[in-house]
Symmetry: C2
Subunit: 305 residues, 2 copies
């Protein structure tokens, strides 16, 4: 398959225009978002919907989140990521496969229905996880495009996937919220790969694999700036697979938690990795569990299990 988005191939960053649409459906009055929201997502590569889930639904999700976190033994071993020192739970992967309530959440028309519309295709879940970013010692996540990794390491062919993060705690400017560069989804920043022996001329700094270089990031920042959506628990953040994003560390006492789902178009299923040997494990990039999500209408069946 021809590689439209080469990355980790050379000693110089390779910046290209996006070769794929951002939204794969036309807007109409029946669309699951307003015309203004539609345009904003198209332009910025993300959309923040404050308070989309109400208090009673949120409580169900919080209870389920707590249950999962405290029943480690019931979880598939490798899907549980804990802190090296304390043993505290950081993430639980394959969330929708290990919790009926979280499966119901992913299938909700507000998530899967919207994903299906934006991607113009049936969708399946490429990855899902429950994140707990602790207070005091919450680590930063450096700038990256998810697609760069999914393409290079998982073999996702095209930009026809998106992430949805449902906030289970409030996002404040000071508790390490996601920062996104609006418009960056229209540019693909191929990164510098494993350092070849003659690379010493181009960089004195260690460049981690998949990490964009300072110059490309500076250009993105100058062209697009950055935005930090903040809002109450129950808000939904949707962002395109190629939107550049990251988060600073969180030293505030406020923890940050979210339920995270990556939807991919069924026409965009994984092939062989474009810049890696063996693909990553199933729980970070699905190859076997790729059932089409059946969208459930919000009012047809309540969120509760």
């Amino acid at each position: 398959m021809h590689d439209l988005y080469p990355t980790r191939k050379g000693t110089e960053p390779d910046v290209r225009d996006r070769q794929d649409p951002v939204i794969y459906s036309r807007w109409s009055e029946d669309a699951p978002l307003t015309q203004e929201e539609y345009r904003s997502y198209e332009d910025k590569g993300f959309l923040f919907l404050p308070g989309l889930f109400k208090a009673d639904e949120l409580q169900i999700l919080l209870d389920e989140s707590k249950r999962l976190r405290t029943s480690k033994d019931a979880l598939e071993d490798e899907t549980l990521i804990t802190e090296p020192n304390s043993g505290d739970v950081r993430s639980i992967f394959a969330l929708h496969r290990q919790s009926a309530i979280m499966h119901r959440l992913a299938s909700d028309e507000r998530l899967a229905g919207l994903a299906r519309f934006l991607l113009g295709d049936d969708v399946y879940i490429h990855q899902s996880r429950l994140n707990f970013k602790p207070g005091f010692r919450g680590k930063e996540f450096y700038w990256h495009s998810d697609f760069e990794t999914w393409h290079a390491e998982d073999g996702m062919p095209r930009m026809r996937a998106l992430s949805m993060s449902l906030l289970l705690t409030d996002n404040e400017p000071h508790n390490g919220p996601l920062m996104l560069m609006p418009g960056s989804h229209k540019r693909f920043v191929g990164t510098v790969g494993e350092t070849p022996e003659d690379n010493y001329k181009s960089s004195l700094k260690v460049q981690e694999t998949g990490t964009p270089d300072d110059e490309s990031l500076t250009r993105l920042y100058d062209d697009f700036g950055l935005e930090t959506p903040t809002g109450p628990a129950g808000s939904l953040l949707i962002f395109d697979c190629n939107t550049m994003h990251g988060s600073a560390s969180n030293i505030s006492p406020m923890a940050r938690s979210n339920a995270f789902f990556v939807f991919n178009a069924v026409s965009n299923k994984l092939v062989a990795p474009f810049s890696a040997g063996t693909p990553r494990p199933e729980f970070v990039g699905a190859r076997k569990h790729v059932d089409t999500v059946e969208v459930i209408e919000r009012n047809a069946k309540p969120l509760a299990a």
Copy 2:
């Protein structure tokens, strides 16, 4: 000398009320700040004065900052802190002793004059530095009270000192600005010191010396919350020696720079450290260079050298 603020002495945090005034002068119409500013500093333990220095003055300070940064050889060896990898300048200490312009800045009535009023005494400079917090890889600074360190390691007897940070770049919510807990200056959080052998019961986590524990921080946060003053270059942030503060990492491409001066009352000069052996070096806590700062009226002599 009786130790009013014991810290690093035991295995449990020791939280006490402040034993000293916050402001040592009464407010009058001649005061160098408004009554509202006076009350706000008293209540919160900090005050942010946006745009206090104008464009022409700021340009002089930026030029001088650049000159100092690029003339490393002219600086006292130990006052220059560089990045381990790149050799980039992180901080230049003893700033007022190595730059006539920065000495003039510290002596300005907007700094030294205000410090003298707030501390109700003549003042000298306990420490000064020029900070460069780089973009992309700006490290976090964990929560701390400066006084805790100055008392324990430098032998500062009482809470009669304050810091002034003149912003040389814009402070944005996303480039790792200082976060402060308003009101925290009225409570002293003695920290847990070197871990004795029987400490295993009180904590499983490594507690760095001088770092407040999670429980005390959570209580401060619940009682006081936190604020993040942001504003343009040329703004001045003044904060009490005991105000709890810290900053998250800065992954944004925007660097952050400031000129930083700690003023201490001449009646509060250093004695032997309260919880350490040898005092820290002169450039972090002055013992020899303790001349009273002669305040220069803003219009008597322009900022330029």
